[in-house]
Amino acid sequence: MHLSREHEQTLNGEFGSGKQAAMELLVAIGKAFDAPNMIPIKRAHAASSGQEGDLYFVEILAKGGAHCKVITTTNPIADFDYFQKLINITDEHEEASVAWRTKNYYKQIGAVMSQSCIPYLAENIPEYGEHVAFSESSATPYVNSIIGGLTNRESIQTALAAGVIGETPEYGMHLKENRRGTALVKVETNLNDGFSYSLLGQYVGKKLGSGIPVFAGISKRPTIDQYINLCAMMNVTGAVPMFHIPSITVEAKTEQEAFGGNVPKDTIVVTDRELRETSQELQTTTGPVDTVILGCPHYNLDQMGELANLLKGRKIRSGLSFWVNTSATTKLLAERTGYVAMIEESGAHVITDTCIDMFCWNNLRGKTGMTDSPKCAYYRRFGPVKVGTVQECVAASA
């Protein structure tokens, strides 16, 4: 791998032990993937989880004097201010302490505290053709496919390291030939709402494992929340850095262009039956629901509006807790649009800066949950969680 004199100096620790650790990681990745050299990046997104693995590396960077060279946004961790009014944080002292310290190290190294898992919508928007380093498995395919930025399926650590050095090894999705489709997905069902795209993603990820699907049979341009659901759920059951919907997503106008000469390794057919079966598999429990959790990934403004209209004039039944997670930037607009008032009037909570895989949900352990997100159900920190449409979640809360 070709490294410049500055790279070698960084590896020798001449710019501090933090940058040294970042450079070591990037070079190891580069060599593992036969990258010929490093390339500059414009921006990074670190999928900060606020858990031990995350703390381990960001602490090394912070204590080693490293600082972000390019804009490096962060994922949601926990809104401590909000939750300390609701729960006794000292009950969750160990995990809360890890999350708190992690957040502070991110601030220390100059990361942008976006605390959002949908940063490509507002806080950190790549351009078409821009090389970036975006972790958060639901964000990577959005950037590659819908925006046409170029990023590998980064880990928290490699994204952070790239943010600190301002470069990433030139391999994988940074090369045009690796961005071609590897499997054909024939969609023979109507995809009318956000939930149908969640089911599609869940099914395709499972059948594909890893690869770049090309979707045939989608004639209507998906909405943003449909894209978000597809990107997220394909990466719960599989490892999908990118996809094509020819003439809709940005890198292929035709199926031929999407495959670029590749012969598809698989053909996956999705009919009503596959979506129905996928939905049934997600009904892991029957009976009354104690808690509803929405917003994994974070709800965008449209989804907040849809929820507000569903909850308008309704009250959540006593004994049930109802939570919707979103980003701070989305909540601001949702407040100005009146959505937050409509949601909160029903008794539901609007939470920002928070991930569903966090200590602040631990007091829901043992309770039966419901969500519209298969990803949320996968990470559950509570009792059995069933998955349905947002309409069904609202109905279950009456």
Partner: protein, 132 residues
């Protein structure tokens, strides 16, 4: 036999072969025992073993978290041999300083069995197997 270094170092121990991909978040850190339901290694300990498996799985947050917790509890594997490479496992191995290799000269699932003594020298690009 020759191999390709992904994460540097030297490790040796008893081989533990898994046909299922591994997510280290689903391994109990205090014991090193795999707790993932239905996994072919369920109930077995990875501590100090030379793990042979097809690939890692799941998101970086959990994979890195799993390996860090194992490392801090002194239950990490001594080395890892995989077939399919993805950056999440490579990054996690580099940061937790567990030697990781791929591209074995001979197919690892054919040349290594659970219980064999294996030495992995990632820096030299060599894996030595003593059949038991």
């Amino acid at each position: 036999m020759k191999c390709h270094k992904l994460a540097k170092g030297f490790g040796e121990g008893e081989a533990l072969v898994s046909k299922d991909p591994i997510c280290f978040y689903l391994v109990e850190p205090k014991t090193g025992i795999v707790r993932e339901r239905g996994h072919n290694l369920e109930g077995r300990s990875v501590a100090g073993k030379v793990l042979v498996f097809p690939s890692g799985k799941a998101s970086s947050a959990v994979q890195m978290d799993g390996l860090v917790k194992l490392l801090l509890n002194k239950n990490a594997p001594s080395a890892m041999i995989v077939n399919d490479v993805e950056p999440v496992l490579v990054g996690s191995a580099v940061l937790t300083k567990i030697p990781l290799v791929d591209r074995l000269e001979k197919e690892p699932f054919e040349s290594i069995s659970t219980g064999d003594r294996v030495r992995v020298d990632a820096d030299k690009g060599l894996v030595h197997v003593t059949k038991t």
